[in-house]
Symmetry: C2
């Protein structure tokens, strides 16, 4: 290689290669495209998920329960696999609850959060003895009625909107005025209602934000959560059985972002949990993670179906696009469009030699999946891989936009 | 009313009211929610669509053909209704072509545009004698092969990426380097290939942008389109049968935006068409519109299922949200979030007395449908109406995000 040689077109570190092919849990991509039955497809790698869960368990205290938040990736096969690795499942809708129960997991190990739960959804939760993370005082009344109707005491935790914020999170979900949870200062009133209504008080759910890559911010949040839980529990009429401390751990998507360090988070958590357990001897502490567990296990694979030059720019047109992967197009709530990491999955050892616009088949300039991206020389039939696509990809995309065929999903 | 009274909570002018109820083509919303079978639902008003088409025809030259671009709203009932009002249908995928043909419209009256058309889709077009708006030279080769295979001469028009831009359009789709169309300077080469390959040359499709509210910009674009068509046609080996001048007419969404004036556009178009027809005696001129024809006919209706205060802000939680109507949440490619026009469909004559956050049931702060919106005092069960929802609503939303039930669509 001469001095001007471009960097080798490298895979992300969670994936291996064999020759020119990207491997998904040992399966080369050129075969996997046939196994999937079509392009475009999402492929999720069991071994990457497994490693991620193991790494987390390694650094976190043994006593910490690990929950999977289904909303990140609700594919039934993924949820089934996760159910074998974690201690509980968290759901955000009645349909997600159905998927969770279908794994065979006991309702006692499932919790259900979300503003605006429907009566039908709350009935599903009460009947299956799922813990409802209550987000308003009205919801408590509804649960009392449903408990009477079904003859089962609803299991409730209070989702708390804390009086502090998680610094540096990609998405703020606590602090200030919020649609989520019950404001900390209203929790005593909610605790009284739970007692008055004869509901089964399970505990507290304190979640402040997501996609955080800064361990110090997470540590400071954990500190705040345990202090707040201790303070709020003073008004409770029964013991704190469960404390869900949320998740919030992020994964890197864009240049300059790094994998979050788990060691300091685990060390700090161990200390605060030891301290907390002295006064709350029967409390199970759970961390709830979605994106962090599955996000980097997934790739979105589409095929180059046309290549053209237009006034000095090269366009590779693929058979997928923003309708399949809205977040990667940069159009899902992002203020500034940034490229997700991209590779040519059948040319993994070729050097990046040209700057390309990778675009989808939609009649809109929004359908841009890689902007001025340095890739090996492309040909029709090449497989474009978008990494970090295991969470909020398939399910969070407008798949009927322009009525093209949907992608498929495989767990490998 | 005293001097400080807030303005009456008025409907948008295309809809009527009866008492407190918003009317959709004469149907009061309190009944329509039962007719739809559920909330949330999209309702499209036939009379509004009809009036919009008639208004356009009134101002445009009689010789101008009017096409409906299905991508704006592909609901089969809407497309069927539009097929009875317009002269042609334009599709952006094979599945849209199927919907168009299902109306009974002849393939000769349909055209198919979009980068990255699949072989299967091109076969559908050739077999149904639909005009393919070709967007790359590779596509011409594919059409030659398919013509041989099926034994029908493909009907092709060239989608041109012009060498000028539509000023002031909400979305730029022509000029500069583009994934859309064939650069104007490459059109002579494409015309030669069409002739060499023995394809049926239909004409040109010149589309430069969408959602334009400035008549002067549209007029200047029309001028450019006819000049460019005249110039490009010099290289053609056969007559210009068809010229599709695109659409680009916008509708108002946000405060300060006004309905685009059609009279000056029609007058100018009449002049340039008269002039153009002197040298191109057999050319049919078509305008292709999607959003403009259906956008203001549609409302998205959801029900208030919970109301809560959090630290001084009032939140109304509805049974729908961004998963049903991504654009109204401001998260679909918009840089700055703005509120769509919103009303309480069962309190149309009540004054707006409070500022509310209207949020959906999703566990994300992105799920915000109206931010600090002045509305009448809300109660659980009230029907929140989002106007201007007839285009790019249902089909352009990530309906499986968090696995809540989908909305339904009705044409009234």
């Amino acid at each position: 290689m001469n001095q001007k040689a471009k960097p080798v077109h490298a895979p992300m570190s969670q994936f291996q290669t064999n020759g020119e092919q990207l491997l998904v849990n040992g399966h080369p991509l050129n075969l996997l495209q046939y196994q999937a039955g079509q392009t475009p497809f999402y492929a999720y790698d069991r071994s990457v998920i497994h490693q991620k869960v193991e790494a987390l368990k390694h650094y976190m205290p043994d006593e910490l329960k690990l929950h999977y938040a289904i909303k990140a990736n609700p594919m039934a096969a993924v949820v089934n696999y996760m159910a074998s690795l974690v201690d509980g499942l968290d759901v955000a809708s009645g349909n997600e609850l159905r998927v969770a129960l279908n794994t065979g997991m006991d309702g006692h190990l499932i919790s259900f959060a979300g503003p605006g739960k429907q009566r039908r959804e709350l009935e599903m939760a009460v009947a299956s003895q799922t813990t409802v993370n209550v987000e308003s005082l009205n919801e408590l009344k509804l649960l009392r009625d449903i408990s009477d109707q079904i003859g089962i005491r609803a299991r409730v935790a209070i989702r708390v909107n804390p009086d502090f914020e998680l610094r540096g999170s990609g998405m703020k979900m606590g602090g200030g005025s919020q649609q989520f949870g019950i404001d900390a200062e209203l929790v005593p009133q909610a605790l009284t209602l739970i007692s008055d209504y004869g509901l089964h008080y399970r505990g507290l759910h304190i979640f402040t934000g997501s996609q955080n890559l800064n361990p110090d911010a997470v540590i400071s949040t954990h500190k705040g959560i345990f202090e707040l839980a201790d303070r709020l529990q003073e008004s409770a009429k029964s013991e704190l059985e469960s404390l869900n401390i949320g998740g919030g751990l992020g994964i890197p998507y864009f240049p300059g972002e790094k994998t979050i360090e788990l060691a300091p988070i685990g060390e700090h958590l161990s200390d605060v949990m030891t301290h907390f357990s002295k006064t709350h001897t029967k409390t199970e502490i759970a961390m709830e993670l979605g994106r962090f567990l599955v996000g980097d296990s997934g790739i979105y694979v589409s095929k180059v179906i046309d290549i053209k030059e237009s006034r000095g720019s090269k366009f590779a047109i693929i058979d997928g696009g923003l309708h399949h992967h809205l977040a990667a197009s940069g159009n899902f709530g992002q203020v500034i469009r940034k490229n997700y990491p991209v590779a040519v999955g059948n040319k993994m050892h070729q050097e990046a030699t040209e700057s390309v616009q990778v675009v989808g088949p939609l009649c809109t300039p929004l359908d841009l999946l890689a902007n001025k991206y340095e890739l090996p020389a492309l040909e029709i039939g090449d497989l474009i891989v978008i990494y970090q696509s295991g969470a909020y990809g398939f399910s969070a995309s407008p798949r009927d936009f322009l009525s093209h065929p949907h992608p498929v999903e495989i767990l490998v």
